[in-house]
């Protein structure tokens, strides 16, 4: 007899086990004669599935708790009366289960017959044909006949629009096609409730319900008058994923048919790094389905990763290399050889004329680790300088610095699973429901289970209050006062004696703690003293501090609202102090967790994109590190750190920096003070843009190298939890080459002799040179699915939790965090504070999401303004307003809302015609130059339409984007 002892989780096993996995003491039972041992609390259905026996089911799926409504999964259990549902019956020791008998077969067939009596028999023309659980189960139970028909006179079905006499059926409802990505066809619905439960349990939006009762029960989006689009639905796709029939179906499947092959890969949007199955027909992508064994997303997704991939085949995508002598000329399409030799000649020419350090690169946080590694290697090994920087400069560079200083390594301390063990969460300067939606869903699940939430944000973000979620405390601080608020939290904890002294004595430098304690105990850091400055009520802050210090496992999650300030690095250190002070490090459910903005921001930082650091965060001043890379690369590495992005632009304006290779980043739109960026780019002699689209930066480019999408190449992305996920080539590059090949061709055109045949060889080189990646290889990733660095001889399986027994730097270091107000101050001319952010349906500069149907949710950037401030200025909802700062001005439409406090306005930066970054200033973080996007003093006034700058800009962009018709 085969004995099953909890089989090891195989990351490639995709069977639906019926109910979620449980943890508990082992329980042994017999199912159909096989002995099975499973954890206590497991359902009989799941236990059977573990033994390889599938019990028929409709309303159960392993992403949702058992519901017990379909009655198809009934089984016989010795000693129990009747036929219990296997999904809702937990296992018991010695239980003897029979999943098949004449009796249960008869019951199942009867149940199925009833289902099918109210379901259209149009399988052959149904979009779910071949991918339908109802169809499968009809087969599994051996349904051969349906005896029930609608009675004469009345039509007791939901699926027939008209009867044979042509009378309309009042029970029939038309399809709801309002969502751009999926349709809801009530005629196919079996009311199994899986969609409703998925929306509640998995996504946590509660946008779906069952309306009515009995025969009138229907799935309904939102309230009575809503459709899918007007309801609270965020289009995450969890309901579509859960639906066993064609009721909720991707429109792409309706259009194209069911896919015939699937490749597991990683999403290229935010830093959560969700695993997806790309499902295709040939080389045509049919749909992206969240992968249930993805360790970051655990089978969940958001609207971007799930549906917004249409940009990859958008008509705007450039597929041929292009060059031009002047940016005022139209583009000329040329061969790869011509484009690369043109670029190489220009770059070498610039170096000959202006010196070795007159050119540089910007690596992309959206490309793979391997590609990023090659681009920085291009600068260091081929250009012969350290002029490499990355867009992490403008987002999480303070995280790198701050956590490096306090803990000794530049990364989040936890994995995402950790949130399931947390008791008190602080969210500061992040809006996870919009920026990191899949993480937000996991957090919300934990909050619904009782964890407490403290939100520190100038805006009332959705997490402050939404269905079944309510923050215990919302501290609506004035933009720019993060340090004062976090220090005040520490003040309360220290002065009220709530710190974890045992942890501090054991794990941190006690002397430094004494200094820190003396500093924060100073009455000027008391919440009462800082209230006037921060706008946060002192009592609320005190309560929040006490809750965090005493509420159990405390985790801090933060985003760009922390880093993108003149004191970004200080705030990161203050957060680290807070975690050490309360002993919240080194175990599940705690930690300091930066929510990374882009898919591979962590990886781009790891790969040595910064001008002062070689891969693995090792400073270029260290001779041993330079020697190591020098030997592998066969060159001498410059010991001088290179230029940061703002320095490159300053140097360009000064005339000493003349050439730039910019891969997969749109600095003109994403970097602060657009006019200065434009001036810098315009002053360069050779700008090489390597991107999917003619982005805004390309308006000033001389060479355009068409890029490949994440679907078209192999590689790895590293997400916010340091997880190295595989990106797999799903289809061949439409532009002809993967991005790593293009960088290699450029390097070789400039005289290098690189010969990588596959990204796995690049990873091998990374592993060879970088201690924290020493154990990483494509073979390991293939075996494990993913791995969290450090992965080396000490941690062969990677490291889910950092700083478990001690900090990477040894003793944790408390750093005094003095609040220094930003120089960006409101005054009579600019009395309001602008802060920026993003929304759910758009991503970053919008180059991708603006080229998808996501625009239906967000077609333009809006300025959120408090009703008080709007009334003072005579503004109404939807009015054009002029938004001006000392750097520039732009216009957009106003949205009046009390989500922002009086004196604060808010906008997003997804649309180039708004150019919110014309407004932002050149102030930046004192340590890392991370720009201060989150605080700009502005004035808002009524306007008639676009500003002169916007019109000039649009004209220049149109001029710069012309492409000559192909010769021949």
């Amino acid at each position: 007899m085969k004995d099953f002892i909890i089989p090891p989780a195989d990351w490639k096993d995709e069977r639906d086990m019926g109910t979620p996995a449980k943890q508990g003491a082992p329980v042994t039972l017999t199912i159909d004669g096989f002995e099975v041992t499973v954890p206590e609390g497991t359902s009989v259905m799941r236990a059977a599935a573990e033994a390889g026996i599938q019990v028929p089911k409709l309303c159960a799926t392993d992403s949702l708790e058992a519901f017990g409504s379909c009655r198809l999964c009934v089984v016989e259990i010795e000693g129990r009366r009747g036929t219990p549902a296997s999904c809702t019956t937990p296992v018991a020791p010695g239980m003897v289960v029979r999943t098949q008998s004449d009796n249960v077969r008869k019951i199942r067939r009867g149940v199925m017959e009833l289902y099918i009596s109210d379901h259209p028999l149009d399988c052959l023309t149904c979009s779910a044909n071949g991918d339908c659980e109802l169809q499968d189960m009809a087969g599994a139970v051996g349904l051969r006949d349906v005896r029930y028909t609608a009675p004469e006179g009345g039509m007791a079905t939901h699926f027939a629009p008209r009867n044979t006499s042509g009378e309309a059926n009042p029970e029939w409802r038309p399809k709801d096609d309002s969502n751009p990505y999926f349709s809801y066809d009530p005629a196919k619905c079996i009311v199994c409730n899986r969609c409703v439960r998925a929306c509640e349990e998995v996504q946590g939006t509660f946008a779906l319900t069952i309306e009515g009762r009995g025969f009138d029960s229907r799935v309904s989006f939102g309230a009575k008058t809503d459709d899918a689009l007007t309801s609270d639905c965020v289009s995450c796709g969890a309901c579509v994923q859960a639906c066993p029939t064609a009721t909720l179906q991707e429109k792409s499947v309706i259009e194209m048919g069911t896919p015939d092959r699937a490749v597991v890969t990683t999403c290229a949007y935010c830093g959560v790094g969700c695993s997806f199955k790309a499902e295709l027909q040939g080389d045509q992508l049919v749909r992206m389905v969240p992968y249930k064994h993805g360790k970051a997303n655990r089978g969940h997704s958001c609207v971007k990763g799930r549906f917004a991939y249409g940009y990859a085949s958008h008509k705007d995508r450039i597929l041929n290399p292009m060059i031009r002598d002047n940016v005022s000329d139209p583009w000329r399409e040329v061969s790869w050889d011509e484009a690369l030799s043109f670029a190489a000649t220009k770059m070498r020419g610039i170096q000959a004329e202006y010196g070795q350090k007159s050119i540089g690169v910007i690596t992309s946080s959206r490309c793979t680790n391997e590609e990023t590694y090659l681009v920085q290697k291009l600068a260091r090994a081929v250009f012969g300088n350290n002029n490499t920087d990355t867009c992490a400069r403008v987002c999480h560079s303070p995280t790198g610095y701050g956590l490096g200083q306090t803990f000794g390594t530049s990364a989040g301390t936890q994995d995402f699973d950790s949130v399931e063990h947390t008791d008190v969460v602080i969210i500061i300067g992040a809006n996870p429901t919009d920026g990191h939606p899949v993480f937000a869903s996991r957090l919300k699940k934990r909050l619904r289970a009782g964890a407490k939430l403290i939100v520190i944000d100038p805006r009332r973000i959705d997490l402050v209050k939404s269905a079944h979620i309510k923050a215990a405390h919302h501290l609506p601080l004035r933009p720019g006062t993060n340090v004062a608020v976090v220090t005040a939290l520490a003040h309360v904890i220290v002065t009220e004696g709530l710190m974890d002294e045992a942890f501090i004595r054991a794990r941190c430098d006690w002397d430094e703690f004494q200094d820190f304690a003396a500093f924060v105990s100073d009455p000027r850091h008391a919440p009462e003293a800082t209230e006037m400055l921060t706008g946060v009520p002192a009592t609320e802050l005190r309560e929040a501090a006490k809750l965090f210090a005493t509420g159990g496992n405390g985790a801090i999650y933060y985003g760009l609202g922390v880093t993108e300030h003149s004191q970004g690095s200080t705030t990161v250190m203050a957060i680290a102090n807070l975690a050490m002070l309360t002993g919240n490090l080194g175990r599940p459910g705690v930690g300091v967790n930066p929510l990374r903005g882009q898919n591979n921001v962590q990886g781009a930082c790891d790969m040595g994109s910064f001008p002062h650091e070689l891969p693995g965060y090792r400073h270029v001043k260290h001779a041993d590190v330079r020697d190591l890379f020098g030997r592998v690369w066969g060159v001498e590495i410059d010991p001088e750190p290179g230029l940061r992005i703002p320095n490159m632009l300053d140097a360009a304006v000064d005339g000493t920096f003349k050439g730039l290779y910019c891969q997969g980043e749109d600095i003109l739109q994403s970097d602060p003070d657009t006019k200065h960026v434009a001036a810098g780019l315009a002053a360069m002699e050779c700008v090489i843009v390597h991107d999917l689209f003619l982005n805004e930066t390309a308006n000033y480019a001389h060479v355009f190298l068409p890029g490949s999408t994440f679907l078209e190449k192999d590689g790895t992305f590293t997400n916010a939890e340091r997880r190295i996920n595989r990106v797999r080539e799903v289809m061949k590059p439409r532009n002809g080459c993967a991005d790593w090949q293009i960088t290699q061709m450029l390097a070789n055109a400039m005289g290098a002799n690189w010969s990588y045949m596959h990204p796995s060889q690049i990873m091998d080189e990374i592993a060879l040179t970088t201690p924290s990646f020493a154990g990483v290889s494509y073979t390991l990733l293939e075996e494990k699915g993913s791995v969290q660095w450090p992965c080396n001889a000490d941690h062969p399986d990677g490291t889910p939790l950092m700083h478990v027994d001690g900090f990477v730097r040894g003793k944790g270091r408390f750093i005094v965090t003095e609040y220094v107000a930003t120089d960006e101050k409101t005054g009579p001319r600019f009395p309001l504070l602008l802060t920026t952010g993003r929304i759910l349906s758009q991503y970053n500069v919008g180059a991708q999401t603006r080229r998808t149907e996501n625009v239906i949710w967000h077609e333009a950037d809006l300025l959120e303004i408090h009703p008080h401030d709007a009334e003072n200025r005579g503004l109404n909802e939807g009015d054009w307003v002029k938004l001006a700062s000392r750097s520039g001005e732009t216009t957009l439409r106003a949205k009046i809302t009390d989500r922002v406090s009086p004196g604060v306005v808010y906008t997003t930066f997804h649309h180039p015609d708004t150019q919110a970054n014309v407004i932002t200033t050149d102030y930046s973080d004192w340590a890392t130059n991370c720009p201060e996007y989150k605080v700009t003093a502005v004035q808002v006034s009524p306007s008639n339409g676009p500003t002169e700058w916007q019109e000039d800009y649009a004209a220049q962009a149109a001029q710069a984007r012309r492409i000559l018709p192909a010769a021949e």
């Binding site: 946008a207 989006f221 939102g222 309230a223 809503d226 269905a467």
Partner: protein, 157 residues
């Protein structure tokens, strides 16, 4: 008009506040609203969702589950006629048909003068006295055409 709207809003808020400390406050709130307004006004939906921290879909699910909750005001009086088995067996179905035909209404319909709304109900617990009906909150047993005509005349149909 504005005045009455404001007072409605106040009343809605008062009703919600009065019940929100209960365990499972939604049904008591809906009942209280229906008692006060004769229906659950749509304007109360957002304040209920806000106070109980539930989504508008969930609220819709609950309201639509119970046939008794109305989203528009009924007539000044509501006459419910039982259609459950015992009453049907005692001629309730025919009685109901004749009443509807006489008033020219369908189920849930309201007479043109706004006096009476006729609704079906499934069991009033008066099976021993079937057929049964209910006029506003008063149950009536052993109804027949004459008795029902009298009742309808009383309420002004």
């Amino acid at each position: 008009m504005t005045q009455s709207n404001t007072s409605d809003t106040d009343q809605i808020d008062r009703i919600i506040a009065a019940h929100s400390a209960l365990e499972g406050p939604l049904l008591p709130i809906l009942h209280a609203l229906q008692d006060a307004f004769g229906h659950v006004p749509v304007t109360a939906h957002a304040p209920i969702c806000d106070a109980l921290n539930i989504s508008k879909a969930e609220l819709h699910g609950v309201i639509s589950f119970y046939h008794d909750f109305r989203d528009t005001p009924a007539g000044r009086h509501v006459v419910k006629i039982c259609r459950a088995e015992a009453c049907q067996a005692m001629g309730g179905a025919a009685l109901a048909e004749s009443v509807l035909a006489k008033l020219g209404l369908d189920w849930h319909g309201t007479t043109a003068n706004g006096a009476v709304t006729i609704e079906p109900v499934y069991c009033l617990g008066l099976c021993a006295c079937a057929p049964a009906a209910m006029v506003d909150n008063r149950v009536v047993g052993r109804v027949n055409a004459t008795k029902l005509d009298k009742l309808l005349a009383e309420v002004g149909a």
